[in-house]
């Protein structure tokens, strides 16, 4: 009823923005996406590092056993 009055205020009028849902959704996605991708890379690197360490230990055990 008083929406005609509040429309004079740039901030108050935003409540009726038809794109509001998309704005919020895209804000969430675009903020979380880089962190998720970087987290994925870090996870991948840590996993590869652990694998390499295990392989190295196994190699070490082998050479020790031969000696």
């Amino acid at each position: 009823m008083n929406s005609l009055l509040t429309i004079a205020c740039a901030v108050c009028g935003a409540g009726e923005d038809p794109a509001k849902g998309s704005y919020v959704g895209m804000t969430l996605i675009i903020s979380a996406l880089p962190l998720a991708m970087l987290g994925g890379i870090i996870w991948y690197v840590v996993r590869a590092a652990k694998k390499a360490e295990l392989a190295e230990n196994a190699q070490q055990a082998k050479t020790d056993g031969r000696a």
Partner: protein, 592 residues
Amino acid sequence: MSSTATDTAHGDGHGHDAHAPSGWDDPHGHGGHGAHDAHGHAEPHWLIKYFWSTDHKIIGMQYLFTGMFMALIGGFAVYVFRMQLAFPGMSVPFYGRVTATDYNALVTTHGSVMIFWVAMPVLIAALGNYLIPLMIGCDDMVFPRLNRLSYQLFLISAIVLIYSFFVDGGAFGGAWTAYPPLSAKAEYNLTPTGAPLWLFAVALEFAAFLLGGINFVTTVMNSRAKGMKMFDVPIVVWMIIIASILFMASVGPLIAGAVMLMFDQTIGTGFFDPNKGGDPVLWQHLFWFFGHPEVYVVLLPAMGIVAEVITTFSRKKLFAYKSVLYTAVGTGGLSFFVWAHHQFIAGIDPRMANIFSVTTLLISIPVAEMVFVYIATLFGGSIRLTTPMLWALAFIAEFLLGGVTGIFLGASGADIYFHDTYFVIAHFHYTFFPIAFIASFAALTYWFPKMFGRYMNDTWGKVHFWISIISFNCIFIPLFLLGARGDHRRIYDYTHFPDLMKSGMQDLRILATLSLVVLLVTQVIFLVNFFYSMVKGKKAEQNPWKANTLEWQCPSPPPHGNFPDGLPTVHRGPYEFSHPDRQEDYWPQNAS
């Protein structure tokens, strides 16, 4: 995986004179393999040596000197438009009368040059290139040719920007944030050719830093010296890495926005034009999605520089190394969630503004923590007030002021009144001047003996320091006062606004402008000291400050390949000062 290990630049077993082509480095066949092998044993022609080098130290110097040159342009621009504000309509010495269009172009040039062509290249590209391989103890970057390409793209971007000053209509006049519709339509910004050239230069520059950032991260991951674990890496290297990752993850949306804006300008599409179904606020989101992480992209390396200088000159271990590191990562993560605090009055949902207020206030906590850590490091140390140390201490003090005033602006309620006033200007200059200049001066005076094998003059260094700091504060404290009284920015001539000419407001503007002139003239002292010391300064030994990190354990200046006695092996962390079991108060990382 092990079959691909030979793929690294060092994996060819020739030591550091031949960088094996890394495959990915050269996906489109430019250069070819043979061309690269030419660099190495024979001393190349000086033109090739200084302009076509793949040596990380020379590329770092190229970035440094280009950045210093661009700083002169940015400084001249601010001199001209501040003179116009203090003395409206006067004929500015060395420039002449400033028209309204000139004023717009000068403000835009000052902002974009200082951030994109001074702060970024000097803090990240120059120091990153110079320091990373030295500090992690390797001979060069892992993608040396990618590194050279990065500088060349950057140089082209600088040339395009400078060229845009001379085209029809002059340099871009849509402010460095380039908000549409002002930036999108030539009939508003009056710079039909300058606008697309500016966008092109910015996009090119981002491509250059993207390549550089990939190089930095990969180098630190894969080329650390033997024995250097994650927590033995000096803080400044970590900070540059975190900053590079932030940059890479945030720059995409801005490049997308830049392409859309360029289409709007040149083809006449309507991405940001409401008349054609577009949305001008969309640009603000795309811009600040990059723009706010960008603040931390330049802040973190500055924080890292200060950490190095403070530990060395207080002869104390860095207080809480791991906390600093985790705090920096946390700051980086949080910096993706604060950008909309630039749009509080652009018509975003007030509930969303609330959330962004909270995240904005939250991000001040980790940054404050870093400042506390530095103060705790100083506590009880044997402090030596050398020129770099003075700059580092000034960074903490001045940046603190910038951070605290940011709290006012981060609260959406207060921002409605402070928005677009000189309070905002004073706030971000209290953050950006310490970042781009105070920290750079700390870095340059600290690493100068390593870079050129000579000392800078300490007395003139201190004179330069004190005049710069005092005049800097005399510029921006008046602007805080003006802003609190509602002084609006983006005004060319205040005499048209009687409300903004009341009781002493013009006097404050004149005080700020005169202080600015003093600040600019003072930089001559630095430039003379810098270039004179480069050729005539007192010779410096290998480790003049008795510091621990690896760059001080090789000759000054380091030769091609960095470590003539073989790459170092690391035994301990970078900040082992005043160890009780040692006679000397320092303990180099590679000393047994």
